[in-house]
């Protein structure tokens, strides 16, 4: 094939593909897919768990963000929604749940108690779930409104899309109490 013929064939191909394909980077394609198909594992322990039901419920409907497949098995989930107070007694269990999740995994801490212990500065309450597992997004409120939780999920979606670095997760060691 001559040079000009090859050039013509290339141009033809480009024009043809425009109608049915687009080009991208593989990372971006994967990130796009991950972002829009988060499978949350709801870890509702307390009042925030009730508000999380509203997030899943008919009015706020997390399904609109591609996250409607609620999984109660950590092995099938990639977003851990920690909703509610984590007590000292619960701490070893949530670490185990987190370890059972497959990569890539994200953690959203919903509400004041999960984020910092909240107003329970007390002998049996873990002062924030980030003491034992890495948290990607904190949603304030006691309990946060469902809108705030949706916003938190969108923040995580953006992190996935941008491939934001997550040193808190990379440096995490199981069994460590920070």
């Amino acid at each position: 094939m001559s040079d000009s013929a090859a050039k013509f064939a290339d141009r033809q191909l480009t024009e043809d593909t425009r109608s049915f394909a687009f080009t991208t980077q593989i990372d971006k394609l994967v990130a796009w897919g991950r972002k829009n198909s988060l499978w949350p594992m709801p870890y509702g322990t307390a009042c925030c768990g009730i508000e999380m039901m509203s997030v899943m419920g008919p009015k706020y409907d997390l399904a609109r963000f591609g996250a409607e497949v609620v999984r109660f098995s950590p092995r099938q989930a990639d977003l851990l929604l920690v909703a509610g107070t984590i007590t000292e007694k619960m701490a070893p269990i949530i670490v185990r749940i987190y370890e059972q999740m497959l990569e890539p995994k994200y953690v959203l801490s919903m509400g004041a108690c999960a984020s910092s212990g909240g107003f329970y500065r007390a002998y049996h309450v873990l002062q924030g779930v980030d003491k034992v597992i890495p948290v990607d997004c904190y949603v304030p409120g006691c309990p946060p409104t469902p809108e705030a939780v949706l916003d938190g999920v969108m923040v995580i979606q953006k992190m996935i899309q941008d491939g934001a670095p997550r040193p808190w997760k990379d440096n995490w060691k199981p069994g460590e109490y920070r």
Binding site: E51, M53, P58, E88, K89, M90, Y123, H124, V125, C142
Partner: protein, 562 residues
């Protein structure tokens, strides 16, 4: 309620040698006794039928006293709606015989006292920690334990079972042919943080045990370290499915010890709030337990109505779930204009919603087969365990504090108390549905006749002045300053006061030492007493029924573990 004289003459005859001292304070009958007489007295009350329900057992720590601890038994008579409190003093290291052979209900309450205060009960087969984790050292509700001293837990307990009631040692599965199964604390059907451990023979439960405390948030210690009004947000988070009811229960107890009566308008608002909460509490209970048995539609359908109540709460105070709308002495503010019309509109919609729920479930073949005859409990057994609320009424006992011991003008309202016959899961469901209808009836009656007047009392030693007075005149500013600095100080004494919450009797035992914080605040959570019967109820049944029974008990971890 004052029958202390009657009790005095009766007991002085039967217990001539015992050194009993009788008193009547803040509307409560109190008998102080020596620790050796406690069990005979309890037995006497039970056998004569004078008091048939053991409501709670608790303790109070007075470190400066010779005999450091008070152990307090709260008894109730479901027949003539009377209460009595037994108190006995114990020194450090002293023990008292267990009451669980008189009333099974004493079991967990005594374990809790051991956990929190380190008081041992002789003859109790399972004197182990119940709320704090197993690596915890010390007893947190003692006054010398620092409220924020945390102790880290590094591992979860493996599957374990209680010693049998007869005092024999727990024997591990001898032939090793049973299957141990662990459910929770993170399991979708446990609605929170409950952990159930069973030993299965095929599909039959051979042995069962539960572990709680995964949501022990130290409510009682937090109450001791906060001023009276600041405890209200903590009470919200007890039974978070019906938060306003806890606010009301707590404020009612404090108001009673202060000796104030709230204005009629505040009472009306509280009734509306309480009944709305009862409806949404039952919505969560019914919706979630239906989900566990495979009926997902009911949950989504009912949650629409829950959202409507949230919208009402949001209009009222800005919060959806944890409203903290009450203050000691009344409410925080007036409802906005037209709020009661919105409530009436909601009632109309709710009536339709309940009818639709009944169409979905009441005659549903699968639902009936999964629930009828499952977890049945007799009225006597239920009373023995300390059941209250819908679970007790489903067993056929007509006991509702709104009727039996009316407060806030419930006696002026027209409503019925639905009662079941079998005490099984289906009856509990029916009672809850019927209660929702009655609540709608109550709300409509009250909302149509809201009394005028103020929404709170104006006692300057109890209620903060309005903001316009604080910034507008010197007197308001001074009152505000004094109340914030000095705090609300109820008179020295103690009180037990109860309201009918969605789950049953929600009691607050408050000890005041005339300071700005409660000296001791014990909550008597309804589902704590109900849940202790759970291992016995599921033993011998199918493992699938475990989930049905668990859902019908409406266990709210915040209230169970506090």
């Amino acid at each position: 309620m004052n029958n202390i004289e009657e009790l005095k003459s009766e007991l002085n005859q039967t217990f001539q040698d015992a050194d009993l001292s009788f008193s009547y304070k803040f509307g409560n009958n109190v008998i102080e006794v020596n620790k050796d007489v406690v069990i005979p007295l309890l037995q006497h009350f039970k056998s004569t039928g004078r008091f048939d329900l053991l409501m709670s057992v608790t303790a109070v720590d007075y470190p400066d006293r010779d005999k450091r601890f008070d152990v307090v038994y709260e008894l109730f008579s479901s027949r003539d709606v009377k209460r009595v409190r037994l108190k006995t003093q114990l020194a450090e290291g002293e023990t008292v015989p267990t009451a669980q052979f008189v009333w099974k209900a004493a079991d967990w309450f005594e374990r809790e006292i051991f956990d929190m205060f380190g008081i041992r009960f002789d003859g109790h087969p399972n004197m182990r920690r119940i709320l704090c984790h197993h690596q915890f050292v010390g007893h947190p509700l003692r006054k010398d334990y620092q409220a924020d001293h945390q102790q880290h837990c590094t591992e979860a307990l493996p599957i374990h079972f209680d010693n049998p009631r007869d005092g024999s040692e727990y024997i591990e599965d001898p032939n090793k042919d049973l299957t141990p199964l662990n459910i929770g604390p993170s399991h979708p059907a446990t609605h929170g943080t409950l952990r159930v451990m069973v030993e299965l023979d095929g599909e039959t439960v051979n042995r069962a045990n539960v572990e709680l405390g995964y949501l022990h948030r130290c409510f009682e210690k937090m109450a001791e370290t906060h001023p009276y009004n600041q405890v209200i947000p903590y009470t919200d988070r007890l039974n978070y499915c019906s938060a306003p009811m806890n606010n009301i229960g707590y404020c009612k107890a404090v108001e009673k010890i202060l000796g104030v009566e709230i204005p009629p308008k505040a009472q009306a608002i509280r009734i509306v709030l309480a009944e709305l909460s009862r409806i949404i509490d039952h919505i969560v209970c019914l919706g979630a337990s239906a989900v566990d048995l495979g009926a997902l539609t009911g949950f989504f359908h009912l949650f629409t109505y829950r959202e409507k109540v949230y919208t009402l709460f949001e209009k009222l105070c800005g919060a959806r779930l944890t409203v903290s709308m009450t203050r000691i002495g009344g409410m925080a503010n007036d409802p906005p204009e037209g709020w009661f019309d919105d409530v009436l509109q909601f009632c109309k919609e709710m009536r339709k919603g309940i009818d639709e729920l009944e169409l979905l479930l009441s005659g549903n073949k699968i639902w009936i087969q999964r629930t009828k005859g499952v977890g049945a409990i007799s009225a006597e057994e239920a009373i023995e365990w300390g059941y209250t609320g819908p679970c007790l009424r489903a067993a056929g006992v007509n006991l509702d504090l709104r009727k039996a011991d009316p407060y806030y003008g419930y006696d002026q309202l027209d409503f019925d108390v639905p009662v079941g016959t079998n005490g099984d899961v289906y009856d509990r469901y029916l009672v809850r549905v019927a209660e929702m209808k009655e609540s709608v009836k109550i709300i409509e009656q009250v909302s149509k006749n809201i009394p005028g007047g103020d929404y709170t009392i104006r006692d300057k030693g109890i209620v903060l002045p309005e903001k316009k007075d604080v910034y507008g005149n010197i007197e308001g500013l001074m009152n505000h300053f004094m109340l914030v600095i000095k705090g609300l100080r109820p008179p020295k004494g103690e009180i037990y006061d109860a309201t009918e919450a969605a789950n049953g009797e929600l009691g607050f035992y408050l000890v005041s030492d005339n300071s700005g914080n409660p000296y001791r605040l014990k909550v008597r959570p309804p589902c704590f007493a109900i849940y202790q019967s759970f291992p016995e109820q599921i033993t011998g049944g199918l493992v699938a029924d475990v989930i049905a029974i668990l859902g019908s008990m409406n266990l709210i971890a915040g209230e169970l573990d506090r």
